[in-house]
């Protein structure tokens, strides 16, 4: 059996259906099997990515019906890169959460199934080539996210999940209406064929379809003003799930939004729209972040702000800017992953997750605090960490297009970012009095994951060439719409 993109979906699904049966044999299997699946997905990513880099995009048809009659999966430089990133992050978070809950506890069995399907659903959003199929995967991610947000009993998880569910339902209603309207005008659901027939739709209709898609996907991509769910969901969900939200789920939302804008629609001004929305999102999120006293909420707002920067990068629209934006997405996944994973240990024993309770944790939890500080330095873009390069490339791309105003705002917001991250790091090392809360010592597997992420951050920072080849390829595939269409529909 040749490895093909459909393994990303088929294998996790088969595993999820079998786990309840394996649980009857031995309970430990319920958390081992998702891990094996995630290892396999990482291997699939390795095989497919090397294929894509040498021989070009892979288009897989499903059920034997060629596009546009059936559903197809498109695995090219961009979607492949994001899918690989997601499977690696999924694997790391699985290792981190391995001893997360006792297995004889019944919800623990469900945690791993839900987590596995959240990763698989996000990958599905990125590799599918069909708009309705994207909706189905979006709902898989939605259902798992709501359930995982409400996972803990003691916290206000149910409130956060309910809020998330309401906003998510708005998203699915608008997405469904948008898909329906699109279908009535072009008579197809295949993305490539929609792109090819887009010019036949009158502009006013095109605009209203675009608004529906932008609202729906903006919710998943944490675009202002549709991101009300994010801070609650991030702060109430279990630590690993928060990391998965910012590293995997939001990436899928941003990917879908970008795919829709760059491939499906050819509306004048949609890129300017991205820049404006990105700017508003970034400014509001960073200003809110500085006012937070809760560490997880602060990280959540910072995550929203970073997504704003990513949107700005895509909005500038040149290949260099897209390159910088994809680089930022990658950096955000690993760095925010590290910050959430280490941060959830720092505030583990504080019910309110206050930043104030971190005073002088540098002594009690030296390694975790060090890694958190490393992540903080990396995300604000200090050299020689990974975040530095993506920010530099973004500013250079903006300078190329003479967007001085934009550069000034990004730099100003970066200063805000530096202030609130340094405040936390300062608390960790130079807090006034020692905190009374006893920290929780991280388990061995969690520590390993954090160290791996830290090592990746330093490696990419010192030697960015390990990753830039993939990202250049991704940026080139995204900006080349004609090739996308001819790959999927060779006969046209």
């Amino acid at each position: 059996m040749v490895i093909s993109p459909v393994h990303y979906i088929a294998v996790p699904l088969l595993a999820a259906f079998t786990i309840p049966l394996f649980a009857k044999i031995h309970k430990e299997l319920t958390r081992i099997i998702p891990g094996i699946v995630l290892i396999y997905l990482t291997y699939v990513s390795y095989v497919l990515m090397s294929k894509v880099m040498t021989t070009g995009p892979i288009v897989e048809i499903i059920a034997g019906w060629k596009a546009p009659w059936g559903i197809n999966l498109v695995y090219n430089g961009f979607s492949g890169f994001i899918a690989s990133l997601m499977s690696i992050m999924g694997l790391l978070i699985w290792i981190y959460s391995y001893k997360f809950k006792k297995v004889d506890d019944e919800p623990a069995l469900k945690f791993y199934i839900l987590f596995l399907m959240m990763v698989a659903g996000s990958i599905g959003i990125t590799i599918t080539g069909d708009v309705f199929n994207m909706f189905v995967f979006l709902e898989i991610v939605g259902i798992t996210s709501y359930s995982l947000t409400a996972f803990y009993r003691g916290r206000d998880g149910a409130e956060a999940a309910f809020k998330y569910l309401l906003i998510g339902s708005f998203a699915s209603v608008f997405l469904l209406l948008g898909i329906l309207l699109l279908y009535t005008h072009v008579g197809t659901l295949n993305m490539a064929q929609i792109a090819e027939r887009m010019h036949t739709i009158p502009t006013s209709v095109k605009l209203s379809i675009f608004v529906m898609f932008a609202v729906a996907l903006g919710i998943e991509a944490e675009m202002f003003p549709l991101n009300g769910w994010a801070p609650d969901a991030y702060s109430q969900a279990p630590g690993p799930v928060g990391a998965a939200f910012s590293g995997i789920v939001v990436k899928a939302g941003v990917y879908a939004l970008i795919r829709i804008i760059f491939t499906l629609f050819d509306i004048e001004g949609s890129l300017q729209f991205l820049i404006v929305m990105g700017l508003i999102t970034m400014i509001i999120a960073e200003v809110s972040a500085i006012r937070q006293t809760n560490l997880k909420r602060m990280l959540a707002y910072s995550s929203i702000g970073q997504m704003g920067v990513v949107l700005i990068g895509f909005g500038i629209g040149t290949t260099e800017a897209i390159f910088a934006a994809i680089f930022l997405m990658f950096n955000h996944a690993i760095i925010k992953g590290l910050l959430f994973l280490s941060g959830s240990f720092l505030v583990y024993n504080d019910d309110k997750k206050q930043i104030a309770s971190l005073s002088r944790f540098g002594k009690k939890l030296p390694v975790v605090s060090f890694l958190f500080a490393l992540g903080a330095f990396a995300i604000v873009g200090f050299p020689p960490f990974a975040g530095f390069w993506s920010k530099l490339y973004l500013l250079l791309a903006a300078a190329d297009k003479n967007l001085i105003f934009l550069i000034a705002i990004i730099l100003m917001v970066s200063v805000v970012e530096v202030i609130y991250y340094l405040r936390v790091v300062g608390k960790l090392y130079f807090g006034k009095e020692e905190s009374k809360i006893e920290p929780k010592k991280p388990a061995f597997n969690s520590l390993i994951v954090m160290l791996i992420l830290g090592a990746i951050i330093i490696l990419v920072g010192v030697y960015p060439d390990v990753i830039t080849g993939f990202i250049h390829n991704a940026a080139d595939t995204l900006s080349d719409k004609a090739t996308y269409i001819s790959n999927v529909l060779p006969s046209l």
Binding site: F132, V136, E139, G142, I143, Y146, S147, A150, D156, A158, E159, A160, A161, F162, K163, L165, L166, G168, S169, S172, V173, L176, L177, I179, L180, Y183, T184, L189, G228, D232
Partner: protein, 124 residues
């Protein structure tokens, strides 16, 4: 706008599904009781589903099934794709409603009330 018969029919069919969507959204936005919000969500879903079926209809078309009596005559049939899509949409709507109801139960047990204005962290 309501010049001819066709337009009246268009408006009344689409109008009723849009009305369902708006009524449901009104319930979600204004009502204070969690159960009413969940009911609002399912009303919105019904509106969207009705819209799907309405859009797929072709005047004079039959159901897209080639049963023995019609397989040779090949009559005009309605568009099968929206009908297939709406099946998926209904099932997903059911799943979301089930999760929403379970969250309502959790909230009710935790706060002893299902009114949104008495659950502090739900105000926004």
């Amino acid at each position: 706008m309501f010049g001819d018969y066709q337009n009246v029919v268009t408006m009344s069919v689409y109008g009723s599904s849009i009305a369902l969507i708006l009524i449901g959204l009104y319930g979600v936005l204004i009502k204070k009781h969690l159960m009413k919000i969940v009911i609002g969500l399912s009303v919105v879903d019904s509106g969207v589903n009705l819209m799907f079926v309405a859009v797929g209809y072709i005047k004079g078309g039959t159901a897209p099934i080639f049963s023995p009596s019609v397989i040779d005559s090949k009559p005009l049939m309605v568009d099968p794709v929206p009908q297939a899509l709406v099946l998926t949409a209904i099932v997903i709507g059911f799943a979301v409603t089930a999760v929403a109801l379970s969250l309502v139960i959790r909230l009710f047990k935790h706060h002893n009330t299902a009114r949104i204005d008495q659950i502090k962290s739900l105000k926004w």
